[in-house]
């Protein structure tokens, strides 16, 4: 057993998930895509932690590694003080119930040949929740009511529902096993704006009623700003900034966070501002730039940024991985 950082529900320590790159007839490993490369992150009960970043930054892989849909290459995932990334499958099973996921595309996340009742009850079957099938059906009806679906429709198939309703089914299915942590991986990204608002309101209600903790993985900063308690910004496998949502949006410290925020188009007709703030493209995670991964796109880089790994600068309210953050407070530096 390892003690968790002051009351954290889940803690990632030095988490690494690397995917091998194979080449040639012998399929030798010639390199690695370091999708997640040394992530430290604590998630506290009842909070909504947003993990944001652009495609390829590793945010989805973090979620999948926590669920062990992919195996970690190094580091640990601590839940209740137990490193669940290292457990044998049989011992991991009970933890799988504690963490559930809602994915982006509710169309492909549901078995088209299973009724809604069977999809929602599947997890109860796996964890032997409910004494009989009748009891499980009763619970499915309750869950459907909680996500504002008509329980009368439980014998229908996914194609008979709209995108928003299908996402409600996925949420009900995740909640069926009574998880503590719900990972929402771009859960509202495929939905129309008016439907997205319905689902965000539903998630807020459920969080309050069931004391849920959310890891909200998204690229949509509008949703993050509205919804998140804390924000972790990821770039090429690493977290570059972490802090309370209000502070991140008001006073971002990392140049990449600043660029991300500047690229959100305003809705205020008086300000037309979109200012492209990051230069060029996101590099491939298979071959990240040396030193600070962000330096080729950074507008304020120093000569050393291309050589030296940026320090992790710790602040009272979070961290920032940038050499320029060092002077910003009486910060404590962590050794690399």
């Amino acid at each position: 057993m390892t003690a968790l950082r002051d009351g954290a529900l889940l803690e990632l320590r030095g988490l690494k998930t690397w995917f091998p790159i194979r080449a040639g007839v012998l399929q030798r490993i010639t390199g690695h895509v370091k999708a997640v490369d040394g992530v430290d992150l604590a998630i506290y009960p009842g909070e909504t932690l947003a993990l944001v970043g652009e495609s390829g930054c590793g945010k989805t892989t973090v979620g999948r590694t926590i669920l062990r849909l992919v195996e970690a290459t190094g580091g640990s995932v601590l839940y209740d003080g137990v490193d669940i990334a290292a457990l044998p499958a049989a011992q991991f099973h009970p933890y799988r119930r504690r963490v559930q996921i809602v994915m982006q595309d509710p169309g492909s996340a549901l078995d088209p040949r299973a009724t809604v009742r069977d999809s929602i009850a599947e997890g109860m079957d796996a964890f032997a929740i409910g004494a009989s099938q009748e009891e499980r059906t009763e619970r499915v009806a309750t869950l459907m009511r909680q996500v504002s679906l008509d329980p009368e429709t439980m014998w229908r198939y996914p194609h008979e529902f709209s995108g928003g309703q299908r996402q409600r089914i996925c949420i009900a299915r995740a909640l069926a096993v009574e998880p503590s942590l719900l990972i929402c991986d771009e859960a509202t990204s495929a939905l129309d704006v008016s439907i997205q608002a319905q689902i965000l309101n539903l998630l807020a209600d459920l969080q309050e009623k069931r004391k849920l903790t959310y890891l909200f993985i998204t690229h949509d900063l509008g949703v993050v700003r509205y919804f998140a308690t804390r924000v972790a910004v990821m770039y090429l496998g690493r977290i570059v900034e972490l802090g309370p949502a209000e502070r991140i949006f008001a006073e971002p410290r990392h140049p990449y966070t600043k660029a991300l925020l500047a690229s959100v188009p305003s809705l205020d007709p008086a300000q037309r501002g979109i200012k492209p703030a990051a230069l060029g493209d996101v590099p491939s995670p298979a071959n990240p730039p040396p030193g600070c991964h962000y330096h080729p796109r950074c507008g304020v880089r120093l000569p050393d940024c291309s050589r030296i790994d940026p320090p992790v600068v710790t602040f009272a309210d979070g961290m920032c991985r940038c050499v320029l953050a060092e002077g910003q407070s009486s910060a404590i530096q962590q050794p690399q």
């Binding site: 652009e54 495609s55 709209s162 995108g163 928003g164 309703q165 129309d192 704006v193 008016s194 439907i195 997205q196 608002a197 319905q198 965000l200 309101n201 807020a204 690229h219 900063l221 509008g222 949703v223 700003r225 509205y226 919804f227 209000e246 949006f249 660029a259 991300l260 500047a262 690229s263 959100v264 188009p265 305003s266 809705l267 205020d268 007709p269 008086a270 037309r272 979109i274 200012k275 492209p276 703030a277 990051a278 060029g280 493209d281 996101v282 796109r297």
Partner: protein, 326 residues
């Protein structure tokens, strides 16, 4: 304002269904002037993309543009044009870019030769000149090392660069109208800002008219001069960017804008539009928005609303707006 380059009147598009044909778009009318950027906004299934395809006469079969529809380009109705004339217009005077740059490019040919092919199809140019034009266009749309990138295959380029190639291809013939269907939806935030900036810059410097299809009001605010909001196959409100984002009058436009998560709304509830977008063939009677409308009244389910002008540039199709008028 100069005479419109594109004029659409009474556009209706239908698809066959179990019982007869079902209209997916009807009563659509708008114009785009040279140098102007007009946005068609709406949620999925509202008919915005099929409207853009109709302008290129690319409505997929068995869909068809209904008789009585008018699409005038540069003063000439293009709907009766022979296929060969239409082909010259497409890719020549009218350029188009799509949402998915990945699926729009041929994976087994270099990107440079694909753009070159498009140029050679429309202009009599020696091959060397065409190549030069491609490299110029690549540089113009901000592709680094344009000479080297000519010989790159699509898979060697990032999503942002592929979209720049698509824009270069669309702009290579110096079109007078550029149609962009969700040009930045598949792109990351920092890249989206770069591409929107590029589209706005191209429109401003070349005087190209732009018709942009999007579901994102942030994109509208960034590039549009005028906006048409579509719902269930019809335009329900039109106006300038300032009018629609600042003083929307149709309950649907108002609801859409209020349902976008904004920082001011933090901690509170988002305004929802109840229910779901109706499917073609299941359009509600009267005003098609009435089952989801928070302010619907007796007239709404029984009477189709007409156009109410609320300013010289803003109109809404709504009974409430009509009755509120002095």
């Amino acid at each position: 304002m100069s005479a419109p380059l594109l004029e659409i009147e009474r556009l209706a598009i239908s698809f066959p269904a179990e019982h007869g044909r079902v209209a997916v778009v009807d009563r659509v009318a708008f114009t785009v002037a040279p140098g102007e950027t007009v946005a068609l906004v709406g949620e999925s299934g509202c008919g915005k993309s099929i409207t853009a395809l109709a302008v290129m006469r690319l409505v997929p079969k068995p869909g068809r543009i209904e008789p009585g529809s008018v699409i005038r380009f540069d003063g000439r109705d293009i709907l009766p044009l022979p296929v060969t004339d239409m082909r010259n217009l497409r890719g020549g005077k009218i350029g188009m870019i799509f949402q998915e740059p990945m699926t729009s490019l041929n994976p087994v040919t270099t990107v440079g030769s694909q753009v070159e092919e498009a140029i050679l199809l429309h202009a009599r140019l020696p091959a060397r000149e065409a190549r030069k034009r491609v490299v110029e266009m690549f540089a113009r749309v901000g592709i680094p090392d344009p000479e080297q990138r000519f010989d790159a295959y699509p898979h060697q380029l990032s999503g942002g660069l592929k979209q720049r190639v698509m824009i270069a291809m669309a702009m290579a013939m110096r079109p007078r109208l550029l149609i962009c269907d969700e040009p930045t939806t598949a792109l990351d935030a920092t890249i989206r800002a770069q591409i929107l900036d590029l589209i706005r810059d191209l429109a401003a410097t070349t005087g190209t008219a732009v018709l942009i299809i999007t579901h994102d009001f942030g994109v509208v605010n960034a590039v549009a001069d005028r906006v048409c909001v579509m719902y269930a196959g019809q335009i329900v409100e039109t106006g300038t960017r300032e009018e629609l984002l600042g003083r929307p009058r149709h309950p649907y436009t108002q609801g859409l804008l209020r349902s976008i998560p904004r920082p001011e709304a933090r901690g509170g509830r988002l305004e929802e539009i109840p229910g779901a977008v109706p499917r073609p063939g299941q359009w509600p009677s009267g005003c098609r928005f009435h089952p989801r409308c928070p302010v619907a009244f007796a007239r709404c389910p029984v009477e189709v609303p007409g156009e109410t002008r609320v300013s010289p540039t803003q109109s809404a199709w709504c009974h409430l707006v009509e009755e509120a008028r002095p």
